[in-house]
Amino acid sequence: MSPVASAVGAPLLEIRGLTVDYGEGPGAVHAVDNVDLVLHRSETLGLAGESGSGKSTLAHAVTRLLRPPGTITGGQVLYHRREGKDAAGHVSDGPARSGPVNVLDMTRPELRAFRWEEIAIVFQSAMNALNPVHTVLAQIADTLKAHRPGITRAECRERAAHLLTTVGVPAARMSAYAHELSGGMRQRVMIAMALALDPEILVLDEPTTALDVVVQREVLAELVRLREEFGFSVLFITHDLSLLLEVADRVAIMYAGRVIESAPAEEVYRDPVHPYTRGLVASFPPLRGPRRELAGIGGSPPDLRALPPGCAFSPRCRHAFDRCTRDLPLLRRPAGAPERLVACHLDDPNGSADDER
């Protein structure tokens, strides 16, 4: 699948055929199965899916944070560094080496430099992600010292104060411990830390799920503002599609480890194509407009240990026909929708199975 360069910018992170297994051998579960995804420069890419769809596993694989028994068994994650930076992200004096780097091939030192400088991740649970025995300042300083060896204490303080103010936390709170901060504050501190080294990509894994709606709204507005200010790209992962449709430029929907549809957020909302996407969009009752009966999606979420042959969604799909239980639908571009990819046999002009790769 070749990436489409949309209006937002050139590809920044290209995920190609990424496959992640839990366990080994015939009993292995493909938590992420042959996923292609492109994050463009200055874009917010939303990744939506239910529990077990592989969205968090994907984020961990891309940042190389996956722990055993999870293993990356295939694919590439290509990072297109900015001109004039070397593979590790340091600005080099010599001529820039061309071409993207594969994150999955990086050595430990390269990875150390790559993380935080180029890609930073904010996890769902800020309480667990912050160290309870260190102050906020100590944790921000830790990151800074590791990546900027010569930095002085005064500079760390100054940078921490600036970062905290940027995300809307009073600078005086830098000497606070995690338990002294409210949930919203903690998540803001996490975002401040992620921005410490001005990364190109911010991965947000359910960043607001643990927050109340009012605070969630404030944190989201802050993120949108920061993105406009710093110009980083965002990979936003959540189960809450209604939220994603609001904040993301483009949305990819995952089901049972595969991307089954991706399109600009507006199109996903107005005109979802895949039956699962359609069901998911209709699973969020509207707050405004007429009240009407909604059905959700029947059946149960898929069991990755026992996926049906063909399309994983076919047992729950109202439109399933014999081909769906036989052939795995691959992502294809429907006619007249240049920015959309759908993995569904419905409306497939090549009605037969001969378009398998």
Partner: protein
């Protein structure tokens, strides 16, 4: 399959709350006088009157005084036959405590419960068991509320034996199968033999629902029944609950943090903030013309793809977070975050005032000084928050 939506909502809405008091002494025995006029056609089936629930805090307060967490303060709530009442609030607002008090899992610190108009005593024993035969609860986490060692059949047969009058094993078994069919777990024979780990979250929650219905209750208290479930199956469970509620004429309490689902599912909506109810009325009235600034904030904060264009990077107004209930703010508990707070809000807790813009017979009220009758003159310029975002 269930009711059609808006029309019957308004028609059937009785004046659920006691008549709005104009003196700042809401709830409590003062309003027990409302009981003298229960002539309206639908008396509440289960009612909480001026219920408070306080917990001793782990740490002692200042000067060695025992600190008290005011989880629920002075809440009056009425559940009616065949109707769904939603209580909406954020975490820590006390909404689950309300359900637990109504289920008599916890005693109220103040106030009383009335079932069918009769006060509910504090006795445990057989009176408590009779109560449970009428009032059942569904918990949030279907992974924690079912025993992993027991089969589905065991879970359903137990309440049948305890509360029912069934002849023998065969009769109980037949009833178990009937219950499973009611919650669409078919083939029932197969599901009866399964253990919780063999079921998905949605299926487990259906077992919980079947278990609650086993005793043929009149009141069903559902505490966040779908928030642990995958998005795609939530509506299925809610629709099932609504259908079953209508079939049996159940009085249903729906506790949720999701005001959009409350609008979808419930007939009436009560909004809770920091231990107090701040607004209540028909679901459409509360969600479409919210009168309390907190309800307006809640609705403006909820994700809404329709407002996509409205997302801007402008610095969000920071309103702070919910208060510490060990030391709740004086007066209206929302006043520290309220953009429209006035001096009176700091001093005196507002009583229930009729909400402007809704016909009085709707029973739409808000506990907000903005709607005090003697402030009518200022309403026009104090109502800017109903639409758009902050």
């Amino acid at each position: 399959m269930t009711n059609d939506d808006t029309a019957p909502v308004r028609a059937a809405e009785p004046a659920k709350e006691p008549p709005p008091a104009t003196v700042p002494a809401p709830g409590g025995p003062a309003e027990a006088s409302a009981a003298e006029a229960p002539a309206e056609e639908a008396a509440p089936l289960l009612e909480a009157r001026g219920v408070s629930r306080h917990y001793p805090a782990r740490h002692s307060g200042r000067l060695g005084r025992r600190a008290v967490v005011h989880a629920v303060d002075d809440v009056s709530l009425a559940l009616h036959r065949g109707r769904i009442t939603a209580v909406v609030g954020e975490s820590g607002s006390g909404k689950s405590t309300i359900a637990r008090v109504l289920a008599r899992l916890e005693p109220p610190t103040k106030g009383e419960l009335l079932l069918d108009g009769r006060p509910v005593g504090r006795a445990r024993g057989s009176a408590f068991r009779r109560y449970l035969g009428q009032v059942q609860m569904i918990f949030q986490d279907p992974f924690a509320s079912l025993n992993p060692f027991h089969t589905v059949e065991h879970h359903l047969a137990r309440p049948l034996r305890l509360h029912g009058s069934y002849g023998g094993k065969a009769e109980v078994h037949a009833e178990v199968l009937r219950l499973l069919e009611r919650v669409s777990l078919t083939p029932a024979e197969q599901f009866a033999r399964k253990r919780p780990h063999e079921l998905s979250g949605g299926q487990r929650q259906r077992v919980s629902i079947a278990r609650a219905l086993a005793v043929r209750p009149e009141v069903l208290l559902a505490d966040e029944p779908v928030s642990m479930l995958d998005v795609s199956i939530r509506l299925g469970v809610l629709n099932l609950l609504r259908a079953l509620g209508h079939e049996d004429g159940l009085a249903l309490l729906y506790i949720t943090h999701d005001i959009a689902s409350a609008r979808y599912f419930a007939d009436s909506v009560q909004v809770m903030y920091a231990g107090r109810l701040v607004e209540g009325g028909p679901a459409e009235a509360v969600t479409q013309t919210p009168a309390h600034p907190y309800t307006q904030l809640l609705i403006d904060s909820a994700p809404d793809p329709d407002r996509r264009a409205a997302v801007t990077g402008e610095r969000a107004e920071r309103l702070g977070e919910a208060p510490d209930l060990a030391a709740p703010p004086s007066g209206c508990r929302f006043h520290p975050r309220c953009p429209l707070a006035m001096p009176v809000c700091r001093e005196t807790a507002p009583p229930h005032f009729p909400a402007p813009g809704s016909p009085p017979e709707d029973g739409h009220w808000a506990a907000c000084w903005l709607h005090a009758p003697d402030r009518q003159d200022r309403h026009d310029d104090q109502q800017p928050m109903t639409t758009g975002r902050r």
